[in-house]
């Protein structure tokens, strides 16, 4: 029993280590995955900045408003992609070896959650380095809180990714998931506009969007030393604690069926 537990821990570590090692070798992937957030932030953000000057009563630049959204976006896409990569890894590569090894499927799924989350967190931290350019002030305590929040969001999204990947055998369906699940989740997250005074149907959809509960607290923490607290209150929906609890709930709700489905042998 004890041996089995140790072996599964080793299995989780192995899967995590492989993901991290691969990521560190793949410079092109690191650069490519940063391109999209940078485009959004500097072209989209700079273009809209003059028009959106009323946001936050003149205390807030639109790019500063967008920045937490970009953090959320980076974490969202990196997590989902690294989890869904299981699908082709399983058909054409290393995952066959993993699936045939004497470790439980739950360990494989958990290792993948750990690996995907670590990479997503790392990507998020790189984006975080841009904060001085946008005149955002961050203390060490803020940074630690942001890392925690990004990790939580990353775990929600990798779990969702594994849930999607667990029963999928081909990449054909991925475009569908991208268009009908990921993009709506991203747009409804409040990354580009505050989730205030929006139509009812949108409000309802935003309420069931896990990413919204990630972007909301990220924004509160990122802007806390940069704009007056009254402005933050105007833009946010829930307290950081409530947001974190909801994210933890989503993570559990995705992870348990993901492990169960992933462990099912054909």
């Amino acid at each position: 029993m004890y041996d089995k537990f140790i072996q599964n821990l080793k299995g989780i570590f192995t899967i995590w280590y492989r993901d991290v090692l691969r990521y560190s070798r793949d410079r092109a992937r690191i650069v490519a995955s940063l391109a999209q957030p940078l485009l959004f932030l500097f072209i989209f953000g700079s273009g809209l900045s003059p028009v959106m000057s009323n946001l936050g009563g003149g205390h807030l630049d639109f790019r500063q408003f967008m920045f937490p959204g970009i953090l959320g976006m980076t974490v969202l896409f990196t997590s989902i992609f690294s989890a869904v990569s299981i699908v082709w890894d399983r058909e054409f590569g290393f995952f066959k070896e993993v699936m045939a090894a004497p470790i439980s499927r739950a360990a494989v799924a958990l290792g993948k959650v750990a690996g995907g989350s670590t990479i997503a967190l790392f990507q998020g931290c790189i984006i975080l380095l841009l904060s001085p350019i946008l005149n955002i002030q961050l203390t060490l305590f803020q940074i630690i809180t942001l890392v925690g929040l990004m990790l939580l969001l990353a775990m929600v999204m990798t779990s969702l990714g594994i849930l999607i990947a667990s029963r999928q055998r081909s990449m054909e369906g991925f475009q569908m998931i991208m268009n009908f699940l990921l993009m709506p989740m991203f747009f409804l997250s409040g990354a580009f506009f505050p989730l205030k005074n929006i139509p009812l149907w949108m409000e309802i959809l935003a309420k069931i969007d896990p990413v919204a509960y990630g972007v909301d607290p990220l924004r509160q923490v990122v802007l806390s030393k940069t704009v007056p607290s009254m402005v933050i209150e105007m833009l946010s929906n829930y307290s950081i604690a409530v947001n974190s609890l909801v994210m933890a709930g989503f993570a559990t709700a995705f992870l348990i069926p993901a492990i169960l489905l992933f462990g099912k042998r054909d």
Binding site: Q7, L21, R22, G93, F94, F95, E97, A101, S104, D266
Partner: protein, 352 residues
């Protein structure tokens, strides 16, 4: 009991194994994908230290069988045990005792050869000390010691295969499963891989279970199960299987093969079949003495028939396969069969 000494007796029960004790036991194993039966109630057993081959066209159910034995796929019906452990009830215990070489590459090409071995050791819980000595040993066995610290994407196809073989052996498995171990490799590399495998068997006394659709490859096996449409058609040593064909194969090409065939049937009472270009193929004993009689008979009964060429050879496993199934293991048919199997499996997956 009357056929006891007749080696051409087709052994379908598979109870008899060569040498030591039984290490793989399969009874009425069946796997269905929806209403398509990929493996249809097969039974056989493999003895310790044996090289056991599954020969058949692609899509015959070879990979499905291997996947069930390796606990990657659940049997629909029947039982199978490896090293005395049931594959359905104790998959983990089975996995510890087997090594796997897949049909498609399963290496991480962004990692080095040594890193791939190291990950394998971690997944199979091989302790550090054993890993260090064993990895040195297996790398040497497949001649990859010098390339071990290069990333796998720089390897050739043959090197990748060798690394996979080394990896499959790392945790001292009792049985090694090889699914089409030389598919997609050129003939020279294929021979090399076989040298490694035969060397391995000498050194480690390991049991090998392999699938192949290459006849020459099957010749290296101690025993072969010929599989077609999910069923074992015959199971025996390569020599004994060739006895099924009986005697020699005489291939004759004449100016009028239809007519000539008719004469051979009438005058010799022999069964004939036609080759790809319409040649007449005859199975007979003492082929060397048969040829002059054949030419005499043909020219006597119909002087207008010209004999263009005559060829005499020993039967191959391909002849055995044709004899048993009525068709050849030809690539183009095989590819179609495989495609249709893949399509069916995909449809089955989608339908769930």
């Amino acid at each position: 009991m009357k056929n006891e000494n007749n080696s051409s007796t087709v052994k379908l029960s598979g109870v008899q194994t060569k040498g030591g004790s039984t290490i793989i036991e399969v009874r009425e194993l069946t796997r269905k994908f929806g209403d398509f039966t990929a493996v249809d109630g097969i039974s056989f057993s493999v003895g310790e230290g044996e090289i056991f081959g599954f020969l058949g066209p692609n899509g015959a159910g070879k990979t499905t069988t291997i996947n069930m034995l390796c606990t990657l796929l659940k049997p629909t019906e029947g039982m199978a045990s490896v090293a005395g452990i049931d594959v359905s009830s104790h998959p983990h215990e089975v996995r510890k005792n087997i090594g796997l070489i897949f049909q498609d590459p399963s290496l991480d090409d962004r990692l080095t050869g040594r890193e791939n071995l190291h990950f394998h050791a971690m997944l199979y819980n091989v302790d550090r000390k054993t890993y260090e000595s064993r990895s040195r040993e297996v790398l040497q066995m497949v001649d990859l010691t010098e390339k071990a610290d290069k990333q796998v994407r720089t390897y050739s196809g043959g090197m990748k295969r060798r690394l996979e073989i080394a990896r499959g052996l790392l945790h001292h498995p009792k049985v090694i499963f090889l699914d089409e171990p030389t598919i997609g490799l050129d003939p020279q590399t294929r021979r090399h891989i076989w040298n490694y495998l035969l060397r391995l068997r000498e050194r480690e006394k390991i049991t090998m279970f392999m699938t192949t659709h290459y006849m020459e490859e099957a010749e290296n096996c101690d025993r072969i199960a010929i599989i077609d449409h999910g069923r074992i058609v015959s199971l025996d040593t390569p020599e004994a299987l060739k006895q099924i064909v009986g005697g020699d194969i005489v291939t004759a090409d004449t100016s009028d093969n239809t007519h000539a065939g008719q004469i051979i049937r009438d005058k010799f009472g022999l069964e004939i079949r036609n080759g790809q270009q319409g040649q007449i193929i005859i199975e007979t004993t003492d082929g060397d003495k048969f040829i002059p009689r054949l030419i005499d008979t043909l020219t006597n009964y119909n002087p207008s028939i010209q004999v263009l060429s005559i060829n005499l050879r020993r039967p191959t496993l391909d002849d055995v396969f044709i004899k048993l199934t009525g068709h050849s293991i030809r690539e183009e048919e095989a590819d179609q069969a495989k495609d249709s199997l893949k399509r069916r499996v995909r449809m089955w997956n989608r339908g769930r």
